[in-house]
Symmetry: C2
Subunit: 413 residues, 2 copies
């Protein structure tokens, strides 16, 4: 299906601030928890959100075309695109169907700030890639100082691993400092207790719409047809637990305690104007992983610690595209499924101010981060609030993702 | 709840061969696919299986006590135990309720060989441990010959990683040889094609019944209350893909193409008489991982390649118990859930004839395995049928798991 791209000069009869994340060109979806009547889909416009089940009840959305608006489950990519097109038709300034129904506007248009939003889709599986080449290089420099920063496989395949789906939580869920086993280099025995190296990882993620049959791979050209939309992902990490546990089978409990995702699923249609070529891949990758056209995106990323900006990065620093990740994941016949969540890996830029984790920002704790508000940090402390934002900007509007936020609370006794 | 252990001298009015996997002391459950009426639970007895929805329809199982017999979903450990007790009451030789109902016997007692059985529970998550210490030692000797065979963390925590749940398949599902990226040590560039090092891994697994609240750990003493039952697991592996991809984040596509599980879920109640202390743990592990009583089991394991026995092992070679694995997994607050599948890692014994993978049996291909039927193998070939069996034996009966089997079929073009 052709993507539905809203014209750059389109405006809504609902006023939207010029720097809003949610102009009529965006129209992302989320799942809200409504007191007394369960969960339902909402669509963001400026400071407001449309309550989709209410619009359906009023007859403004076709019950046969969109039979299920409690959440994303059952919506394929085409029906989500059609739903977004219909909402555009209701919101564009030339439209009067909703605009002139004062009574319906009262119940169908919600204050966005008042919403309680869940994880867009509780993921069937969570897979975390390692496609931020600057991050992978930094980790290599820190942990393998005598070797080339990147391992030999890095430029030949998108390195990734399976994460834990049961602990994927909504933005604003409090993050309990995890306990775990750690061992200092000079300690004779390990100990068990709260992590002393609580970290974040700045990532972007995407949800799978339609999967593949087991045994049949998805090629790089067709891969994007399987993406429902994108979200911000914070892959919380406990570095001291990770250091002790990760050999030889990879990170496990250092990551599984919590992963936060932003609530608004931004569609690929909305991101269409922000396609870019992506960085050059050298050496050329094998044919089944070769990019087809512009499969990267120009999305600005920011991280705030207690309100102070500590990082500015961009998805253009990803070596591997989402399409390549899907092509790789299915290259051995693995079935992917509706609701699978794939994350990019930490997206650091080349300069220190663009590093996407405390590990890199403080260079393993060697260069504490001085905060403008006073104090400094090597890793995150209890009470710290870490917030990520993401947006594609240009053509007179911004396609924003809102925020992905979490406060660290003390370990449980 | 006290486990329901069937007395060793109990007999059923259904005749059961002395060496059957399924005497009245066992009574494991599976999910059968019935032509025309969907899926339903069955319970094995000798060469037969009881059709549980048919027994319910006939009024022999209480609809209020067991409301859902299409599959395991919704059954907690206590209700599964109660269901097994009720079936024992129907099958024990002193019982006449079913025995004397000739008409019902015709529809409720099925020929076990005629059944098409599925994966007991399509797993919510699949986690693979590495608790077979002989296997971990062998891998260390092969891949890190200049170092101690076990990494420093091995005896302090049960090393594990997240696997792929979407490709967990039922026994007898054909296993398509996966393609993947590999690179020989002397090759300049990697290539993409069918694996040349197709392997099996002999493992046992268990399903989670009731989970924990996020943030709250399960202690080692209480852990077994969360286990619904056990199955055999074959963690198919492509060694050449694994070698190239696994650094630094662990195995990914070398494992995710398929994992086979045996259909019969054997309850912990049935295994109760086969508890053992397990091997000594030295150094003593941290308090939260310390074993409480006999939390290991004496289960004999066998592997057959095209009908020829190539391995005899036993779960007593596991360094870490299932309870310790659960205590570790939740020690950072990770929520575990109904339907999670946990596998042990490859269970090799100390002698070559007890090695649980081709990698070890042929010592990385250096010592090809001569087959009595002619020919030899380094790794598995297309057309090979690999079958695992498991049973606890003693007290005049056998608690068997049936088989976990799979045939390798050629890669898809």
């Amino acid at each position: 299906m052709t993507p539905f791209v809203v014209p750059a000069d389109a405006r809504s009869w609902i006023e939207v601030a010029p720097d809003s994340d949610f102009p009529i060109q965006n129209l992302p979806f989320a799942v809200a928890v409504h007191k007394g009547r369960g969960e339902g889909m909402v669509c963001a416009i400026g400071d407001f959100a449309l309550d989709l089940p209410v619009l359906m009840e009023a007859g403004l959305l076709d019950e046969e075309e969109f039979p299920w608006l409690d959440g994303f489950f059952g919506l394929d990519k085409d029906s989500l695109s059609a739903l977004r097109k219909r909402i555009f038709d209701l919101l564009v300034d030339s439209s009067s169907e909703l605009k002139d129904n004062a009574k319906l506007r009262k119940t169908a248009i919600l204050d966005r700030k008042s919403l309680v939003l869940t994880v867009p889709i509780p993921p069937t599986s969570f897979i975390d890639f390692y496609s931020g080449i600057e991050h992978a290089s930094n980790v290599g420099k820190m942990f393998r100082p005598d070797m080339a920063p990147l391992l030999p496989n890095y430029r030949h395949l998108p390195v990734g691993y399976n994460g834990r789906s049961s602990s994927v939580v909504a933005s604003e869920t409090k993050i309990i400092r995890p306990k775990g086993q750690t061992k200092g280099a000079d300690d004779e025995m390990p100990t068990y207790g709260p992590t002393k190296e609580m970290d974040f990882e700045l990532e972007m993620g995407f949800y799978i719409a339609e999967g593949n049959e087991m045994g049949k791979r998805i090629n790089c050209k067709a891969a994007e047809e399987h993406i429902l939309g994108m979200v911000i992902v914070n892959d919380w990490s406990a570095r001291d637990i990770q250091r002790w546990e990760y050999q030889p089978l990879g990170p496990f409990l250092s990551k599984s305690f919590a992963t936060s995702v932003s609530p608004w699923l931004v569609t690929m249609d909305a991101l269409e104007p922000f396609r870019i070529e992506g960085m050059e891949q050298d050496p050329e990758v094998l044919p089944h992983l070769r990019r087809q056209g512009q499969q990267h995106f120009d999305i600005a990323l920011e991280v705030y610690l207690n309100g102070e900006k500590i990082c500015e990065s961009n998805t253009k620093h990803l070596y591997w595209s989402m399409s390549q990740q899907i092509a790789h994941q299915t290259s051995n016949g693995t079935p992917i499924e509706f609701g699978d969540l794939y994350a990019s890996g930490t997206i650091s830029g080349p300069e220190p101010g663009s590093y996407g984790s405390m590990l890199e920002l403080t260079w393993r704790g060697a260069k504490p981060l001085d905060l403008a508000g006073g104090g400094s940090r090597t890793f995150l402390e209890d009470g710290d609030v870490l917030t990520m934002s993401a947006f594609a900007q240009g053509l007179g509007f911004r396609i924003g993702f809102g925020e992905c936020s979490g406060e660290i609370v003390p370990a449980v006794n």
